[in-house]
Amino acid sequence: MSRRTLLRGAAVGAGAVALPSVLAACSSGPGGVTMGSNASDPVPKKAFAAAFTAYEKKSKKTVRVNTVNHENFQENINRYLQGTPDDVFMWFAGNRMQYFAQKGLLSDISDLWRDFDGFSEALKKQSTGLDGKQYLVPYYYYPWAVFHRKSVFRERGYDIPKTFDQYRALAQQMQKDGLVPFAFGDKDGWPAMGTFDYLNMRANGYDFHIALLRGEKSWNSPQVKQVFDLWRGLLPYHQQGANGRTWQEAAQTLAQKKAGMTVLGLPHPGQQFSAADREDLDFFPFPEIDPAHGQDAVEAPIDGFLMSKKAKDRDGAKELLKFLATPQAEDSYLKSDPNNVAVNSGADTAAYTPLQKKAVQLVSGARQISQFLDRDTRPDFASTVMIQAIQQFLNKPDDIDGLVNDIERQKKQIFSAT
């Protein structure tokens, strides 16, 4: 190799290093609003595309979508928002939005909210930062509940349990009948969090749950120990080996009628059911533990759109957000993704499946709405402490004291760090 080709090679190499940032810079030039999308799965990707096309048709403007793999989007969100973010991007409500608002990485859209129509007070609260300003346009939500197959319940004559005792008795009966009472997978770390949230909200109430996740209550308190204790009582009815199973595999056991129930979010089991069986899918709200709290709280994570602080085309971004807050925008999305529920009360519910209608009822009847464990607390606490702690609990359910002391010690360290 001659010296010249070597040097040329070096220049090419340096170009390869610099290229991604050059490309990134290109993507936010003029010529339409840019949209950072984490909707990398085929169904939502297509559904979002339908919504953006509806906007393009209406406004005669273009939306340029940069889709990133869902997990990668989440992992890189820090650098993404500090680098050259798209004008508008998809993200979550609640604590996970407030965190970035507090860091000054989001644009205040309170002026848009003044003209918004059809959003409930609870939705506004979930779209509001700690400074009282709004940052999110909520788009859809999906409640968590106990899913089951209607036909299985009908054939075996099972009743919908209202209280925890009935719930446990039903699980016992299913086991006798040769079913796995609860399909359960926690390989990804987060699916079991939904069960924890419900046990805690039913036993100790929404306020305690949220205070606990904000770091204001201690994890080694008798209340939290009681939650793990209740859970331990249910574990013999759960599908064994949860830490090696994905939620998809767990939902399939429900679809195959090998399991009787599962605690998941609305989009999850639906995706694993064949189109013919989807009619057979049903849910009931997580049963009551303490009558003082009843079934008041519903876990319903909200996804939506935010405008980055560094948005280039601010007017275009606001116009797009305004459109996305309309019922029509949600309708065009839900036409191809019936696994979620629109947030806007003006959205067309005529086309809803019975399951979607039931989900609307469940959430509108709720006195409190929680987001999800990893959305109601600090993400670093959720991902480096709680995922591991719950998996450890599933392996060794008998050492609750050791477990909660471990969590509390780490919580103090993390919450005091910043």
């Binding site: 080996g241 830490n243 090696g244 993400p379 995922i387």
Partner: protein, 303 residues
């Protein structure tokens, strides 16, 4: 006399460099040095510095003293298991996979039938990335849908990858599968270069096959042994992709590299704490690097 002068003329004397030469030297030496400083030393020292702070990647960097280290050693349940797993990895690859690779190399070098076939089969996993090996392992070992449990057909399936006492061994087997092939190829190359005369001489002296191997062949393979040792250490310390592919390095598959990633990548990064973990990994690596360098330099002097 003319002879001497001729030799002197050939010796590289004090030579004048032209501007062009200097420019070329400057670019060819300077660029790598700059890159080395910017890409290796810069981040290294930054990590060491950051490990004494708390920083979430967005806001202010605040001094924390030894807090991170204190929390690491006493309050972080994943830390000691990760250290243990890294050491187990080293022991497994170094004491089982690498010697096994040597054994295979010797067998193939003896010229068993179909040796080319064995060679290529055993070498095949080396071209796969460990992440891919991890995906293959999941297809085989998954509890409900894996091939192995289907073949075994037991009523109570074994949770090969979900049971925290079991999964590390399964992953080690998969990683060892690849490492063995890697080591085998290196030794095969080394064995080809062993002078057959040495073996003949040993045979004339009445040495048994075992004696010939351990006293004659293995010592002449010293350079290869060193390389295999270095590769084994590197593979054990940088092990990451396979456990991350299997279950993100949780629930029994913790490794130092995974903990660093867990804490630094993501929404609300604990960059200070993650850096402290990285510094621990750096110190462990330095231990091996320094030992290696000392050995090499001593060997150089002896030669």
């Amino acid at each position: 006399m003319p002879n001497l002068r001729a030799r002197r003329a050939r010796r590289p004397g004090p030579r004048r460099y032209t501007r062009r030469d200097r420019l070329v030297l400057g670019v060819l030496l300077g660029l790598p040095i700059l890159l080395d400083l910017a890409l290796i030393w810069g981040p290294t020292f930054a990590s060491v510095g950051l490990s004494f702070t708390t920083w979430d990647g967005i806001g202010d960097i605040r001094w924390a003293g030894l807090n991170n280290y204190d929390h690491l050693f006493t309050g972080y349940p994943q830390f000691w298991p990760a250290v243990r797993h890294n050491l187990l990895w080293l022991a497994f690859l170094g004491l089982l996979a690498a010697p096994f690779g040597l054994l295979l190399a010797v067998l193939i070098d003896r010229g068993v039938r179909f040796s080319r076939f064995y060679q290529s089969t055993l070498y095949m996993p080396v071209v796969l990335s460990l992440a891919v090996v991890g995906f293959i392992a999941q297809l085989i070992l998954s509890r409900d849908q894996g091939a192995l449990n289907a073949v075994l057909g037991s009523k109570n399936p074994t949770d090969w990858l979900g049971n925290p006492g079991l999964n590390i061994w399964m992953v080690l087997l998969a990683a060892g599968w690849r490492h063995t092939g890697y080591v085998m190829i290196l030794y095969l190359a080394g064995l080809k270069s062993v002078d057959p005369g040495l073996k003949e001489a040993a045979a004339l002296d009445g040495a048994s096959a075992r004696q010939t191997f351990f006293r004659v062949v293995l010592p002449t393979l010293r350079p290869v042994n060193v390389i295999v040792g270095v590769i084994t250490v590197i593979e054990s310390l940088r092990a990451f992709d396979i456990v991350y592919a299997v279950n993100k390095g949780r629930n029994g598959l913790e490794l130092l590299s995974v903990l660093v990633t867990d804490n630094i990548i993501g929404e609300a990064s604990r960059i200070g704490f993650g850096s402290a973990l990285a510094v621990v990994l750096l110190l462990v690596s330095l231990g091996f690097i320094v030992t290696y360098l000392v050995q090499e330099l001593r060997g150089e002097r002896r030669r």
